[in-house]
Symmetry: C3
Subunit: 682 residues, 3 copies
């Protein structure tokens, strides 16, 4: 196929060359409230009733068109967008803006049955088939050409529609493909990266287990169990392939759509998914967006706060919550519903941490299809479900708060840093099932958030100069270039805390030939003698350590020991657990274990105090979350009472409360109550 | 292949057209006692010894021939039935009647190796192979032709043998096939049902996820994860395919076998299996039969009682227990043995609930083969195992009780109703792992059984006029036709209680566009506002509710609220949990949750009292089970003491006790003791 | 392919004909200490530093070359052994002997990509691929030819190198292949064994489930779920296939290597693996070797002691620990590290029980590749890890103890006996998940070890005359020939205790047509009436029994009942649980259950007392393990304190302590302390 070389070229380029960042999208009248709406599933006569119910609930944005390919192109090359045009126009009448989803996550039956080469292959070697979604091969040039064509047609038709404010590409990029053609692309990708097999063989140490490759086409493409170098490169390839898949749609859209229309994609994955590099995928987009679902159980305040901060860090700008549950989902073991008030609290929390729009999935369930039981706002009879009133209240909230909030963004002096290479390297070889990286990130996040009342989570490779304190919970992969970036930060006055497992690997997932933290060991003036996976907690300082413990030693007289282990397995007894050395105007600390929460709190208390970090707001009762969003001319505080008791809160100064439209020095928050306070009326 | 069109026609017809019910089989001298006997596994010289041991234990029926294909047709077209003829004749000498099993569950090696198109394909796409059993494709016309031929030969040879009383077709229909030919049959089945793709697309809402079909051959045949409409139709197809598989054997047998010989099949599946529709499969048979196995653990009295009542409801007539364990099985995680006395109690319980024969699997284990460890009556050395004496006692029991029991059947004023569409619809999308339908059926069965001492379980679509009270625990699928049937019952004076999840779906597994209970909502004068999967119990009335809770509202002034939820998730607080409206001469009640046992008992107490339902027998100590079987001229009560203590029981009137052959006003039951009482000596 | 017939012939022969036992290898200067070293993974300039570090730690043996195929034969037919020659020479300079591993566990990419017929097929039908290891088909004549060629070249080059002391063939034979060619070999294997299909059909009872075979090529090759006769034959085939795979390498080596160079293989499998028959595989080797890994957790003293005794029994001679962990592994759920001192204790324990060498896996981790996290002795920077010092101490120990230990071997009057046929027969059909055979073996081993302070574990079919007491925990398969061997032992004065499940099957895995213990029932004068899988413990004697209970009866007046069950399931109440009969000069005891530890101890106390068995050493504190190794002229006792407290031990007589080089009547052992005592200075 003649597309192949062209696409392969794109794929490789996009993996290796960072493109210039596109214009960030500033959401007008943020925060917006909306829902996913599928007019193609309903008789047109019903549309107005639905839009009126939306308008009554203060919804002002809908996402449409996602999954509508079989309606938009009922047979090959015959496009039908008139219905969509009418739906958008009707939405406009109800003052509801529109985001169009490209339909490429669900190709129509005629396409995949006529061109089975567009179908993906699962890791077990079985060809996917029509009947669910995500059945396509993400690397297929043929499939991408079909996508390019329909997206181009959509762009031509709606690229200058004034009620269309943006575009969402595909949906929750998820499933790789393991077909022979994709494997050949992987081999091309490796060839472009390593140039020679000798080079690849050296970095992957293929002398081990006789893996040496003597031809590019011998290289397998395994998802699990393989050489760690290969596994890491496969993750890079997956990222590059989704990115070039995405880029081909951006390239189809951008020439025809107005510069004011944003392009994004909605990123799925509960918590911190490791399927590809979120920093790389969101780089060419105007806007990052994610899909937040609680699943079974209830809102876990700190975890969801962290996740929103993590999403904000992808592009270091505000984001959209493109999907969230109106009370419940349909895929958990027990699909319980959030308590009354909890859905509103979840939405406000997202806004606190940088969301500029919250869209529910979905407005109304299709009468048949796999998601009949998923939470919705309107019932199968077309009348509101109980959750409607809660969302209506939220709509009113957002309208009231929009003048204060639009144009603001969270801001912090503290950053947690991560890289996907580190996340992957540990996920491939966790060494203990207890090393759950999202939980460990949270172990570091929680005390910092409680102290500073604002935390950024950013990629470790970016410029860190703005931060007073930078904490790297598990920076497993530290090549020289990353070490240089961190040292630049430290020498200029930054305080860097490295957590356990830091600096073990280079960028090829090979062991660094210096002991941990590898290229930072000299600056630290210390090193890791040995790591230990712990079966149960052991004593450290005046607390305990669990999961992982590294025996540290000091190699430089200027390095001081902050913490020692107590008696445990003989190897760790009385050995250093945390050491610090001043470097330039700053310092590097290495913490080789996961302390218990009290000890972690005390460690972070010292660190923030040394770094002169002030809380964003001030003292606040337990169970009340406070966040700050700032604009050049004013600051907004949002307070949410996640507890079950009413709380009285003294404000650090008199502020203007938006919902009551009054100035106040103290405020009262009922359970799940929200207050929006500004330092200066707008 | 030229059979194809012919078979496809049969398949589709049998799915759509209910055939006239065949003559019910009335078992003479019921209850019979027997075993599965495999003479082909033993030297002929041993047969007489086995039959003598059977006769000594009062066994009067054996099942033979099942799995004997390679002995019956050692090479293609060469039949060998002489051995079977001699075995049947020898059994007759010992006064043991014979049921012949058709051997089609285990095709011989020569057949499947020469004609691999007769082999089935598993859901993972792998072709099954010789070496176990059930390796054939249930839809293969070619395989069915082989079956037709051997069954015809068997029928010709033994169809008028006076010692052959009946036929069992195949064995525990189990494994579907997922090969391309079966998929084409599925597509033909859909075409026959829906006529046009537009019609199918509409009922399956294929606009969702771009699933729209533009050709019949695009439609996949998935077992899991697919469109709920497709999944339900696949279950209908599976049912139709097994039914046409069965019908082709009935059609081979019936012309050659005496009208007095029954035709049945033995239905497996522990508890309430959902693989196909048992009502449809048993419809063309003279007799329903099932295989009851306890597996690990011990007799669960209420559950096994319910299962026997369920089996009796398939054809609304007495049934056979075609297989049960002589103490233990070989496939459970721990294959413990039933306690001494428990095997006899299990058999008597089956008879209580309508069994007219109990056959043990198996008489003696084959010396090699997969089931060496399964419970048997005779050891590998050919001498009795300890269980032999217990079965011998049971044989004596049955002989003594037969004059009283033959011709009797259980009878009840109360029915639980079910449909397979509802069972499947919930199984596809349980929404909470806690919603285990057999357990929920039991939650409703247990109080009714304890109050009325007799319960029928029947299909919801049948005539319900004979019942004073009808309870539908989870009637998820209620199309208009079913609603009409239920309303006819109610208007004529029936009392209908609908349980949770009722009326959500139509016959295509699409959401009803009225709120639950869908087409019954108007008659109920109320509806379900929203359903909630519960993580833990919540208060309701003076008890608790668990697993599932629906918030009800009353939409008609004549509807009254019977029960309200207490404080829980905010949405349910103080909302109706159960409502009732009088309709015609009867009433409809909707209970939106699963109350705790005490509350359920009290609800059912009120319902049976209002319906003027009397217990079949009267007060009975805890742990003693009583059942009633009636004939036009007399009534029989069977009492079983399942407890560990001896019980004294006052009879409601003087009755005749069969084993002691005395009249009595009170009786004493030792642990696992059984008494058979008649109101009139026969 | 022309190799096929030749190889098939070898395969069948080697399965059926026991070869003459090769010369046993007596390790000079035992115990040796070493490590796996992979010079091909490192620049040659580093080698000397590594060897110096080894020498400093008193290591005197390295294993090299395993997995080095792609380095040794970089392209087809081009061999490169010069580097290996230099590595061996450099090792010699450091007084380190070399064992060469043949590289056949990991074929190079050029080989399998050019000749995909050499790849194995998994049980799920998928072809294995390059990228891990063990991807080859163990039965492929083509692959074996490649192996033969490279092994021949290695043998020619190093077969008379004075620093090469032995050869290890392949690595932990593990994965079978399920391709059609292997299936044809299996069918040939069966044909050679059974000669006629009638014979096979009879022994497998294929009349059951219509499995009768009418052509050899109809026979499937299933791993699970199949006919027990087929499953047992498949295990014999797997054993024969690995054995012929191994033999083709022995045949390549032996003509070219010095008679003083041993040939072995390293056998993996935690605990007692059941993949093939270890007695058969080690028979043609000069030396048995195994790989002992603790995985998660800590040294389980009795279990590891038993495993070492089991390994010693394969060839009834001392063995090598070819691999063990330097503190930790990388494949357990939690890869914790052994406590300080535990690694040394593990090594000494192995020596106690017969190891003549202990080699660590591995010296240093490859910089990339799947085992980066595995325990090593030297870090990625080339400097010692903390464990280095502990291993160095062990090296000093071994050097000090070698004059006393070399040439000694453990010796016992008590044997536990096993067969692989019995192990497999129970594994195929455990009947209860609680019947874990390694644990049950341990239940019998533990009391015997504590009483006799020495236990042999040997194959049941060998000459048992040297033992005063023989215990068979689960000898499920007892054909007549095995019964004869045991009766010969008993008649000559031996005491035999049979455990539960004994004698149920014959050599075809068919049920014996006598009740258990089958051909030993007559001699026992008793039999098993029925077996019962137990859900929970039941009373027996003055203790309890669990997991399994057989109801025994006495059929001979000379047989006495040793033990009876208490009240339980009705069937077992008051029935015999253990019976004994004197036979010739000895006796047979049948114990039909698993008594609790105290009762088992008391049973074994009586048995050893009757058999006049003396402890090897004498009273010893709890937590201290004692073992005896004997030579013609002296006896060595090794004491290890596995407890956490210091222990004072009175010796039975004055002995010479090797490490202190002093005579002593009492010694003091610190936690994890070791003492080596000789009865006569050497």
């Amino acid at each position: 196929m003649r597309f192949a070389a062209f696409i392969a070229a794109i794929l490789i380029c996009s993996a290796l060359i960072a493109q210039p960042a596109p214009t960030p999208y500033i959401t007008p009248h943020a925060p917006l409230l909306g829902a996913a709406w599928y007019p193609e599933q309903w008789p047109e006569s019903r549309w107005d009733a639905d839009l009126q119910l939306m308008q009554d609930a203060h919804l002002n944005v809908v996402r449409v068109g996602e999954f509508a390919w079989s309606t938009e192109e009922p047979s090959e090359g015959h496009y039908n967008f008139d219905w969509l045009s009418r739906a958008i126009a009707l939405a406009a009448k109800h003052h509801i803006a529109v985001v169009i989803g490209t339909p490429t996550d669900a190709p129509p039956a005629w396409l995949t049955s006529k061109y089975p080469d567009t179908l993906g292959t699962n890791a077990d070697g079985r060809l996917r088939q029509h009947g669910t979604r995500r059945q396509f091969s993400y690397s297929s040039p043929h499939y991408r050409e079909f996508c390019r064509q329909i997206v181009t047609e959509l762009a031509k038709r709606f690229g200058h529609n004034p009620n269309v404010i943006g575009w969402q590409i595909d949906n929750e990029y998820t499933d790789e493909s393991f077909d022979p053609a994709t494997r050949r692309q992987f081999q091309q990708f490796l060839k472009a990266k390593y140039k020679t097999l000798d080079n690849l063989n050296r970095h992957w140490t293929t002398a081990y287990w006789s893996q040496t490759y003597t031809a590019w086409d011998q290289i397998p493409m395994e998802n699990t169990g393989g050489n760690p170098g290969l596994l890491l490169d496969h993750k890079h390839f997956v990222t590059a392939t989704w990115r070039s898949f995405q880029q081909s749609q951006i390239d189809a859209l951008r020439p025809y759509v107005a510069p004011t229309q944003f392009i994004t994609t909605n990123i799925g994955g509960l918590g911190w998914s490791d399927n590809w590099d979120h920093y790389r995928i969101t780089q060419p987009l105007n806007l990052a967006a994610w899909d937040e679902y609680v699943g079974e159980g209830h809102l876990q305040v700190a975890k969801e706060a962290m996740m929103n901060d993590f999403v904000r860090g992808w592009k270091r700008q505000n984001f959209w919550l493109m999907e969230t549950e109106p009370g419940s989902v349909n895929w958990a073991p027990i699909n319980n519903t959030l308590d009354r008030g909890e859905t509103r609290a979840l939405a406000w929390q997202a806004v606190d941490h940088g969301a500029d729009a919250v869209l529910y999935w979905q407005w109304r369930s299709a009468l048949n299809g796999q998601e009949q039981y998923h939470g919705a706002i309107v019932g199968p009879d077309g009348t509101p479900l109980p959750i409607y009133t809660e969302i209506q209240q939220l709509g009113a909230d957002f309208v009231a708060a929009s003048p204060a909030l639009a144009g603001t963004t969270p801001k912090s002096d503290v950053a947690l840093i991560t890289t996907y290479d580190s996340r992957w390297a540990i996920d491939f070889q966790p060494h203990t099932k207890l090393y759950e990286q999202q939980q460990i990130l949270l172990d570091f996040y929680r005390p910092l958030e409680s102290i500073a009342q604002s935390v950024d989570i950013v990629e470790a490779t970016t410029n860190l100069a703005q931060y007073k304190l930078v904490v790297a919970p598990s920076l497993n992969v530290i090549p020289q270039s990353l070490a240089d970036n961190l040292l630049t930060y430290v020498r200029a006055g930054g305080r860097l805390i490295l957590g356990p497992r830091s600096g073990m690997k280079d960028q090829y997932n090979a062991l660094n030939t210096q002991r941990q933290p590898g290229p930072l060991a000299a600056a630290l003036g210390g090193r890791v003698e040995q790591f230990y996976a712990l079966e149960s907690p052991i004593p450290v300082g005046n607390g305990t350590a669990s999961i992982w413990a590294e025996q540290l030693t000091v190699t430089n007289p200027a390095t001081k020991v902050d913490l020692r282990y107590g008696k445990s397995n003989g190897w760790l007894d009385n050995q250093p657990a945390m050491i610090t050395r001043s470097v330039g105007k700053g310092s590097i600390t290495y913490l080789g274990t996961i302390p218990d929460p009290a000890l972690m709190q005390s460690i972070m208390q010292s660190a923030t105090a040394s770094a002169n970090i002030q809380p964003a707001f001030g003292p606040i009762p337990t169970g009340v979350e406070v966040c700050r969003r700032v604009a050049p001319d004013h600051t907004v505080y949002i307070l949410i009472n996640h507890g079950k008791a009413t709380q009285q809160i003294s404000l650090p100064s008199t502020m203007h409360e938006v919902f009551t439209n009054k100035d106040a020095a103290t405020i009262t928050l009922a359970p799940q109550g929200v207050a929006v306070l500004t330092t200066k009326a707008k």
